[in-house]
């Protein structure tokens, strides 16, 4: 990597770090972060392919409540840097992901540190509020966001400084059984994200739609857009019918329990 690429990568990493907490523009999502790093390193296609593959895995990773999921920002940035330095192009995506996911788990530790360091920052805001010091509160807010940017930018800079040779040697020295096994694992890890999402949304009423989607997806001629159209149509039909007949409400109320029969079975198991 040349100096300009490194600077640009660190800027992208900084944006990803800020977004990792803000969760607004989505610069921390693999699709965006990996693509940007690919572009600034002159390997856009590899970055896009990596972003797409990692997005599928990171699907259900979200900052909610007490649930901890791996840090999408660090996973995207680290895997993209490793891919760019490994020089394998788009083929190296699976290996890069396998290396980056443990890093993303380690990244949780940095998240916890940053969120703890934010406590004294809001205490300083309390003091500034006492004097109605608007400027100071604004500065403190920006300071906190800046700290979140550094959370990803610093590890990214460290990864960039390691010589390309070291990274590609490391990747090449990994035995085939390990990389193949990890990409098999990577194929299964996708299920964890989906399981997180399903656990959040599942009710007796919506389970049938899951199975309709599952069965229809086996028809490989049907594209994802085609499936989306079917899904929207079914949702509208269902909402209209349940409004007209009023029987939908009965079905929902009759379910009882947690309103999630499969979840109940899994719980009782």
């Amino acid at each position: 990597m040349n100096a300009i690429s490194i600077v640009l990568v660190i800027i992208v990493a900084f944006l990803a770090g800020m977004e990792g907490i803000l969760d607004e523009f989505q610069f921390h999502q693999p699709l965006v972060a990996c693509t940007l790093i690919g572009i600034v390193c002159g390997q856009p296609v590899a970055g896009i392919v990596l972003g797409g593959s990692l997005q599928m895995i990171a699907m259900g990773w979200a900052n909610i409540g007490a649930a901890v999921a791996p840090d999408a920002a660090l996973a995207s940035v680290a895997s993209a840097i490793i891919l760019m330095k490994g020089g394998q192009g788009a083929e190296g995506a699976q290996t890069a992901i396998a290396v980056a996911i443990p890093l993303a788990v380690a990244g949780l530790f940095l998240t916890m540190i940053a969120r703890t360091l934010a406590v004294p920052i809001v205490h300083a805001m309390d003091a500034a509020a006492e004097n109605a010091d608007f400027k100071k509160i604004e500065m403190l807010q920006w300071g906190a966001i800046f700290m979140q940017g550094l959370r990803i930018a610093v590890p990214a800079a460290a990864l960039c400084v390691v010589s390309d040779q070291v990274v590609s040697n490391l990747l090449n020295s990994m035995p085939a059984w390990l990389t193949e096994g990890m990409s098999i694992g990577g194929g299964m890890v996708v299920a964890v994200g989906y399981a997180l999402v399903i656990n959040m949304m599942a009710t007796a009423e919506v389970w049938p739609f899951f199975f309709i989607g599952f069965a229809l997806a086996a028809i490989s001629d049907l594209t994802l857009i085609g499936l989306g159209i079917v899904a929207v149509a079914i949702a509208f039909i269902y909402l209209n019918l349940s409004e007209k007949g009023g029987s939908g409400a009965g079905a929902g109320a009759a379910a009882g329990g947690s309103g999630d029969p499969l979840g109940d079975i899994l719980n009782d198991y």
Partner: protein, 306 residues
């Protein structure tokens, strides 16, 4: 005398400014009072407009440094209501601190319950999966589509719900229990579950290439490569025979995967997903499951099962 009834009012510019600042709501997210710093930061343009004395400003700032936490986008309608309340208060209405804090706390729970599933678990996975399927073939349209659509939806939502909250004031709490919001949530979860079902089938890859049987085929059921004529004619015949259903090899190999797929395509993926759901419900950390699956992948590959 109308001037006296409403001494100060928020301009549209103030409200746009608050809306823009709410982008940074989670910037100082902390373990003590969570999004309080961001909420206060977002309210600053309104506080500056509504209150002139230093005491009033300090009180308002402190009011909005209290505990606050919700899904960051559904904070917009709450900010809208808070703006309406602060405006009333600045014009002399008897709105006390407890009322403002009560509205904020009262709304943040139920709204987070709507915002999390809709944004994190329906819109983002659907847009993400759609865009990722483009991206995996190296098409830049994928990331662009994701980024642009997401931000258009997000800003439209932030601005219109904040305005809605501001216009409706406290009346919004009644709307929350009303039918529309419930319908939107229901429609979104139908859509989400359908798409998840198809994603599990398409993208969770669990493959067992281990051979379960090897049967020698009878003559005429497979292509006899040594009996084909030379050159292009041979290739043509071979393709013709293959497309008429003849096998390429004299033995028929059936893998465990073939058997599973003839039951239900994607059955293994479905079962794996259920297993993950079960483990998550048993409070196993997703991180442990993810690392565990990598270990399983490596071990099963080594023993030749996968």
């Amino acid at each position: 005398m109308a001037e006296n009834e409403k001494k100060v009012a928020l301009t549209k510019q103030d409200r746009i400014s608050v809306c823009f600042r709410s982008t940074f709501l989670q910037g100082s997210w902390n373990y003590e009072r969570m999004q309080n710093g961001g909420y206060c930061y977002a309210m600053i343009p309104a506080i500056k407009r509504l209150y002139t004395t230093k005491e009033e400003q300090a009180d308002a700032l402190k009011r909005h440094l209290e505990f606050f936490n919700t899904q960051p986008y559904v904070a917009a309608p709450i900010l809208g209501v808070t703006l309406a309340l602060e405006e009333d208060r600045a014009n002399g209405a008897p709105v006390d601190d407890a009322a403002i804090q009560g509205v904020k706390v009262g709304m943040m729970g139920p709204l987070a319950g709507v915002g999390d599933p809709i944004f994190w678990f329906t819109v983002r996975p659907i847009l993400g999966a759609l865009a990722a399927s483009f991206a995996m073939s190296g098409n830049i349209l994928g990331p662009i589509l994701f980024f642009v659509l997401w931000n258009v939806i997000r800003y439209a939502f932030l601005w219109y719900t904040q305005e809605f909250g501001y216009q409706a004031g406290t009346a919004i709490t009644k709307d929350l229990s009303g039918g529309l919001l419930q319908k939107v949530t229901q429609g979104a979860s139908i859509l989400g579950m359908f798409v998840l079902g198809s994603l599990v089938q398409r993208w969770v890859s669990v493959n067992f290439p281990i051979k379960v049987s090897e049967v020698a085929l009878s003559e005429g059921a497979y292509i006899e490569w040594d009996k084909l004529p030379q050159g292009g004619e041979g290739i043509k015949q071979a393709i013709a025979q293959w497309s008429s259903g003849m096998s390429m090899d004299p033995t028929k190999v059936t893998t465990l995967q073939d058997n599973l797929n003839s039951l239900v395509p994607g059955l293994a993926a479905l079962l794996l997903t259920f297993l993950c759901m079960y483990l998550l419900k048993k409070k196993v950390s997703p991180i442990v499951i993810i690392l565990g699956l990598f270990v399983v992948g490596i071990v099963f590959h080594l023993i030749g099962l996968m």
